[in-house]
């Protein structure tokens, strides 16, 4: 049996840095069958344990081998609500694929690519009409990101009357405003939203809960509430001149590009023009911002205070970023933004970092190397440093928060009766699949309560 994985076809790197179309092109049938055939169908599958939602991976791959695409989809759907999305954005190399026994001697099975193939096959067929009997219970969902969408979908399938409240003009949360088109085409997100609407889920956009309607207003109208309000407000470093004109949060850059379409020539929302930009941070958001700006013709550096092996981003995003010509400045950190008299960015004062001695069981910490301060020149800086909680939706409520300001839950239930929460608002910035899982779990808790 072939020990090398079937590599997904991709847009050529020189071509793709000039467009926002999807980079990875997915498997065709023949490629999916070839990759599926590598699966050993372990009796005690480690991959399932590596999956945050425990998808029965060998079983869905078995159905692929049998060309039973829809059966394969049903297996995934039992555990995961958004397979077309998770197949694209999950950090598989840290989860299922990390555990795959094939990975010990060769390449792990490309489980993510197979999941994506199955989901895309499913999405290409006309959806069946679901007949759902209304159970008379009403649920309000605050936020339409992955947590809210999965919670809504499961509840709607179980007969609940679901209304989603979304503050922006388009639903999808981070899937819409955050993750770029070249990694997650918006038509896939729209498909998931259409599926919900088909299940009679109502989506109310333009509705800032906490302002337009408070949590206690919602409590009067609905039997249950699920809060999936997301990660929150962008963090800044707190270094001098950080309010210079061309210092942006990655959220702002990504929102302008993804939600507002600023990458299109005739867009009415502008994006700042720049020659050289430094993106600060090493996570997926940093990669997304860096690669988006590269596509707008900028010379892009990515600065991270740790080394390459510790970049928190998905490995494949790092590889793609390198292929696309993003320059990685690792073990370096900005000390100050340099500006001219107009408050415009002219560069940064930067210092080198080094690892401190390792303490067993702890993540190695880094420290500044004295005397290595130096200046770099640039005309834009983008901060991709994570977020602090945003409590706008919780205004006028006395919901219990932990010391980091995150919503406290017990089996998804908050300190307020019948109010559930999940996703980044509970865990702090995490992954799409974990948010989806939290939304799903809360949905099943609500279903259990109604029995």
């Amino acid at each position: 049996m072939e020990d090398k994985k079937t590599v997904m076809r991709m847009q050529d790197k020189d071509k793709r840095i000039k467009n926002f179309q999807e980079v990875e092109l997915g498997y065709n049938e023949e490629e999916a069958l070839r990759e599926a055939s590598r699966c050993l169908q372990c009796t005690n599958p480690r991959c399932v344990k590596g999956c945050p939602v425990n998808i029965m991976i060998p079983l869905f791959i078995k159905h692929i081998k049998e060309k039973e695409w829809e059966k394969a989809y049903q297996v995934i759907q039992e555990s995961s609500f958004l397979p077309a999305i998770c197949g694209r954005v999950c950090p598989q190399e840290m989860q299922c694929e990390k555990m795959c026994v094939k990975g010990f001697k060769g390449d792990a099975i490309s489980i993510g690519a197979l999941e994506r193939f199955v989901a895309d096959m499913h999405n290409s067929i006309e959806p069946k009409k679901e007949i759902i009997k209304n159970n008379g219970k009403k649920v309000a969902i605050v936020g339409s990101g992955p947590a809210g969408l999965s919670c809504a979908g499961i509840l709607a399938s179980n007969g609940f009357e679901v209304t989603i409240y979304e503050v922006l003009h388009r639903p999808g949360g981070v899937l819409t405003y955050g993750i770029p088109e070249f990694r997650l085409p918006k038509k896939i997100v729209e498909k998931e939203i259409e599926n919900l609407k088909r299940k009679k889920v109502e989506i109310k956009c333009d509705m800032p809960v906490g302002n337009a309607i408070t949590l206690s207003d919602l409590q009067k109208e609905y039997d249950y509430i699920f809060l999936g309000t997301g990660a929150g407000v962008p963090k800044f470093m707190g270094i001098p001149n950080e309010s210079a004109n061309e210092v942006f949060s990655a959220n702002e850059i990504l929102t302008r590009i993804n939600l507002m379409g600023a990458y299109q020539e005739n867009s009415k929302t502008p994006i700042k023009e720049a020659k050289t930009v430094y993106v600060i941070g090493g996570g997926n958001v940093a990669m997304d911002a860096a690669r988006s700006l590269k596509r707008l013709g900028m010379n892009v550096h990515l600065m991270y205070r740790r080394g390459k092996d510790e970049l928190p981003a998905r490995k494949v995003e790092v590889i793609h970023a390198l292929e696309e010509g993003i320059i990685f400045d690792l073990l370096q950190n900005p000390l100050e933004i340099l500006t001219d008299e107009n408050n415009s960015v002219t560069g940064m004062k930067v210092i080198n970092m080094e690892y401190q001695e390792e303490i067993v069981g702890q993540r190695r910490s880094v420290q500044e190397v004295k005397g290595t301060e130096h200046n770099v020149s640039c005309d834009m800086v983008v901060m991709a440093l994570g977020t602090n909680p945003n409590h706008e939706a919780l205004k006028m409520s006395d919901i219990k928060l932990d010391d980091r300001g995150l919503i406290m839950v017990d089996d998804g239930l908050t300190s307020i009766p019948n109010v559930y929460a999940g996703g980044d608002a509970v865990t702090g910035a995490a992954t799409v699949i974990l948010a989806m899982e939290a939304g799903k779990k809360a949905a099943y808790e609500i279903i259990k309560r109604c029995k």
């Binding site: 003009h169 956009c205 337009a212 702002e252 939600l259 502008p270």
Partner: protein
């Protein structure tokens, strides 16, 4: 879609729009703002609430035609694609009326800054507080909604740069003469609010200002609207838009208004050209 009831010119550079926007109205209070998009592909722009009719669910906004997005808005007659809100904190005085019952309050407005001021003095008037207003503009034509203001204010003092109405000079000239107030609320161009604060600092009168920086989402997600208040980073959308005027870094706010100047100029020219073609 939000139905437009009217969208009409009220001065050479300003328009007033009335909208059916029930989602905004029920919980809207003076000091808050909304985010609007004219069409599906438009920019999201923040506008401070000017008036509302809670019974009828009608929202009123006043705006100046300054760039491509407001030009596009001024031409729309049927409906707006998106109106979200209210966003931001409620005006401090309207929120804590009892604390201000026996205080002498003056509202200082510059140009279209009168629009966000109106709902505040109207609200206070309804609760039995009467406030003075100092209102300045470049010329008589640019002094808006005078009758409405006079109906709800105690004394109104006008000034214009060219002397075509009221005193000739700036709002700060009037404030220098009448500074026996306990609290000042100043809303208008950043330079005007800065100058007002320079005067009120001298007389140690607490001063509230309303910032109107660049925003994208309006809900705390993007950080475009950050201001420095008392040395700390604040987001105008969720921490404001009103702040203690004596603690705001106005010079920084002024510079940050220019972030997209070049890009916005291009968009405006492109829009004007496309209008000429049509």
């Amino acid at each position: 879609m939000y139905k437009i009831i009217y969208n009409k010119k009220i001065s050479e550079t300003s328009m007033e729009i009335a909208l059916e926007a029930r989602n905004i109205i029920d919980n809207a209070y003076p000091g808050q703002f909304v985010m609007i998009m004219t069409k599906e592909d438009s920019e999201r722009i923040p506008l401070t609430i000017y008036d509302y009719d809670k019974k009828k669910g009608i929202l009123y906004l006043i705006y100046q035609i300054l760039g491509a997005s407001t030009l596009e808005l001024s031409m729309e007659k049927d409906s707006l694609f998106s109106v979200s809100g209210p966003f931001g904190k409620i005006n401090e005085i309207c929120k804590n009326i009892d604390e201000y019952k026996n205080k002498k309050i003056v509202y200082v407005a510059g140009g279209v800054g009168i629009a966000p001021i109106y709902p505040q003095i109207k609200y206070l008037h309804d609760f039995g507080l009467s406030c003075d207003v100092i209102y300045g503009a470049r010329n008589a034509d640019l002094l808006l909604i005078k009758d409405k203001i006079e109906n709800v204010a105690h004394n109104v003092y006008y000034c214009t740069d060219d002397g075509s109405f009221g005193e000739q000079g700036f709002v700060t000239n009037i404030l220098e003469k009448k500074h026996d107030y306990d609290v000042v609320v100043a809303i208008g161009p950043v330079v005007m609010m800065k100058n007002v604060c320079d005067v009120t600092k001298k007389y140690q009168i607490p001063t509230i200002v309303s910032m109107n920086p660049i925003m994208v989402d309006g809900s705390g997600m993007c950080g475009a609207c950050r201001c420095i208040v008392d040395g700390k980073v604040k987001f105008a959308c969720i921490d404001g838009p009103e702040f203690d005027g004596h603690k705001i870094d106005f010079d920084l706010a002024l510079k940050r208004m220019n972030i997209y100047k070049k890009e916005e100029q291009k968009k405006l020219i492109a829009m004007q050209e496309s209008l000429e073609v049509k």
